[in-house]
Symmetry: C2
Subunit: 473 residues, 2 copies
């Protein structure tokens, strides 16, 4: 049984930490961005060092008090919001924002968990390097949370997920033990990889306090194109062609459907494609090239070859930085248009890349058994990651389909599972998908996860109810 | 307390598995390639399916019998060789060699743990894809062992270690539980990452039975060069220059010292560099380029720029496949020359890349306090990974320095540790470095490792004595 924070416990923490560690609890710490999760109460503590984090964890462990780690608060699955029936310590990393070191020769940045992604990107750029993790919330998401949820984003096709960008971690375990694993090494085979165990564990196995991150040379040139494809199958062909011609120079390959573009026209933001007619399907392509490769020429050559092969029917290569930004604004505005329309149910799924066309063919028929919907399917096709969102027909609202939501989710997740896909491609499990993980997860994996959780957090104080259901004890 | 295999237990296993699973135990299963480890006895079992592996593990778990997993037997740290005082089950994956699937669209191969690396490379090539893991023992090393030890090799600079090439694993846990994690997905955030926990655990947490592996487009062109550099500092400058100009197209950057070339001249194999004078330091560079980049021109341009900057004094670009093979033969023959000379002590270390010149400057002075030695320092500079091997002077032998060995190792490892390096960059811990891991490992990490080991293998039957010391119980 976990204990709520009591007055005595508050007093005890105050005696362990400097005054600056205590901040006013605002609503932001208790509600997630979409308002779907809200906590009852919490005791906000913002330590300034790994040693202070260790002291907090030791105290919480001794007092059997639960701890909810808090980064930028941008998570979409409720991982940062405690359940209503306890008052946990909300451990915010917001004061641990230092960029401890940037080494362009090692291609490594060592940063604290509270550093905001954008500031890490900027620090890398100042050292003539690239930190490629990039996503819509980069102005507020913090490194610790990005690693704890193994964030994805738009550059994963080339550079991988957050996991792939991390060389080492400094972590505090449930009992306050500090694991110093801030390695800068590219090769290090000395025992179990705790780093990867903590990444994606969503704060349920330990508190990430700092990370060493991989940096990359900045591409010599870059360019962006939009290409119209007949259907997802043609997009898949284009992806393979681009891969064989440009290899690791492709940094984004985003699929966009007509529905998303119609949504933009219907509710804004007011952004249009460069095409005279709204295409049924289009692809947004980004390349970052090496010395000797002209990025525009590379995209042009790709377009010519793809046209010859009948994969693309129209295409535009951005002619300026301004136009590149416009192209990307289309992609980045679709989530906002989605919010304005109001989805009945949205899904962050992935399937093996080769199955994407099958999935997009098959799902609408199954959903039609439930009712009439508009489907906005878009996302990181190069990674097999689709945001498959189901909307009401014009004139209907999200509320009209309240009773359909569970069934829609089941249909989308069942099909994903049949196609050996994932019910959470990049957002994680949090509290939202704990039951889905039980339904669709491999039983052997779940058993092993429970053993690991119980071993590293025997009292169950770390982010209880996230990833794994809280046992009744 | 673990039990040795008894006649009754043999009988029991024979009742659970088909006859074909039982093979004659030869010396190969009891001795590692360099003859430094030898087991007393063992009971060889070669299952043909994950289900059979599960049955074996369940039986061993019930009987508290230890299990040593066996792949290609090429490991260099004794991880595949049981200690003398027990008779374990030697669980060989040699019959699970199927390549279950190759999907060029997904860029995925699903292979069984017993598949030999070279056969996986060839299967990928037949599908016009590249599986980039490559190392000297690729003709006999098996995928399961390569993943269990997170093997490195010559292409890690570009493609990462074995860990980075794996999308998912099928694993059998100590109690026989099957974890089916053969994901083909590039993005999948559904719970703890057991895959990365098993990779590098050297069979001490579970038996890898199959893996889904990343494939890559084959480079459009490739080329190889040798460049003479003044010293390791100049090599570091060349590495950074190559990185900024060619980015992810560089697949190998190997540092070779004069000592290694002298060894080749002294004891063979009879292979010479293309340079009139034996250089003090040289670099072997491999590039695999994308469409539109001529690989020879890319290397030429790099050489010209590096010459202007004073980094390189001479260089040759291979003019044929035959010459490329000759260049690589120099690098690949150095370990054989080393064996013929007979090292006093050899070390597989890594340091942050920026520290390599310091390390190479500092170590000889410290070793000179012990005695007079020849040092052959070579390796994967692009990964920060040096094979730092200490040899007797001419006229002396390995045996003459028997009493110096421990001290040499201590000096090299201490310096590595001071420079925040790793005492095992790519070979793993096995049984050879268990004590070193205790000495140099982070105490917090070791504590967490022990908790995980005890949780997943509470009886301690999985590869006992590898990675972590066997507890007395």
């Amino acid at each position: 049984m976990l204990n709520s924070v009591t007055d005595d416990f508050r007093q005890h923490l105050r005696s362990l930490l400097p005054d600056a560690a205590f901040r006013e609890l605002t609503d932001a710490y208790l509600k997630e961005p979409r308002g779907r999760y809200a906590a009852g109460d919490g005791f906000l503590v913002a330590p300034d060092s790994v040693d202070q984090v260790s002291r907090i964890m030791r105290a919480c462990s001794n007092g059997r008090v639960s701890v909810v780690p808090y980064g930028g608060g941008t998570g979409l699955v409720g991982g940062q919001i405690a359940s209503k029936n306890v008052t946990p310590v909300i451990l915010s990393l917001e004061r641990m924002t230092r960029i401890r070191d940037i080494s362009p020769i090692d291609n490594v940045a060592v940063v604290e968990a509270g550093a905001i992604l954008q500031s890490v990107q900027e620090a890398a750029q100042d050292a003539d390097r690239l930190f490629p993790l990039s996503l819509a919330s980069e102005g507020s998401a913090r490194i610790g949370g990005l690693l704890a949820t193994n964030a994805g984003g738009v550059n994963t096709l080339r550079y991988g997920n957050a996991r792939d960008l991390c060389l080492g971690l400094e972590v505090v375990l449930a009992d306050g033990t500090i694991v110093n694993g801030l390695s800068r090494l590219r090769k290090n085979n000395t025992g179990y990889d705790l780093r990867h165990l903590m990444i994606g564990a969503e704060g349920s196995l330990g508190i990430i306090t700092a990370a060493s991150l991989k940096l990359f040379p900045q591409p010599a040139g870059s360019a962006t194109a939009m290409m119209v494809v007949k259907d997802p199958q043609a997009a898949l062909g284009l992806l393979a062609l681009a891969g064989s011609r440009l290899g690791g120079q492709i940094s984004a390959f985003e699929l966009i459907s007509r529905v998303g573009l119609d949504f933009l026209a219907e509710v804004g933001p007011d952004i249009k494609t460069p095409f005279a007619e709204t295409p049924e399907w289009m692809v947004l392509l980004d390349v970052g090239t090496f010395a000797g490769v002209d990025p525009e020429t590379a995209l042009e050559d790709l377009f010519v070859k793809a046209s010859e092969d009948g994969m693309v029917s129209d295409g535009v290569i951005a002619q300026s930085e301004g136009q590149r930004a416009e192209f990307w604004a289309i992609r980045e505005s679709i989530p906002e248009a989605n919010r304005r329309i109001g989805s009945v149910s949205s899904h962050d799924i992935s399937v093996p890349i080769a199955r994407i066309p099958d999935f997009i063919d098959e799902a609408p028929g199954r959903l039609a058994m439930i009712g009439q919907f508009r489907i906005n399917c878009f996302g990181h096709m190069g990674d097999g990651n689709l945001h498959y969102n189901v909307f009401p027909m014009p004139g209907k609202s999200r509320e009209d389909h309240q009773s359909d939501r569970a069934e829609i989710k089941r249909v989308v997740h069942d099909l994903t599972h049949e196609m050996e896909g994932s019910i959470s491609a990049e957002h994680g499990i949090g509290r939202l998908k704990v039951d889905d993980l039980i339904t669709y997860g491999d039983p052997g994996k779940l058993a092993a996860m429970r053993l690991i959780k119980d071993a590293l957090d025997p009292l169950g104080i770390l982010n209880p109810g996230a990833v794994l259901a809280q046992p009744d004890h």
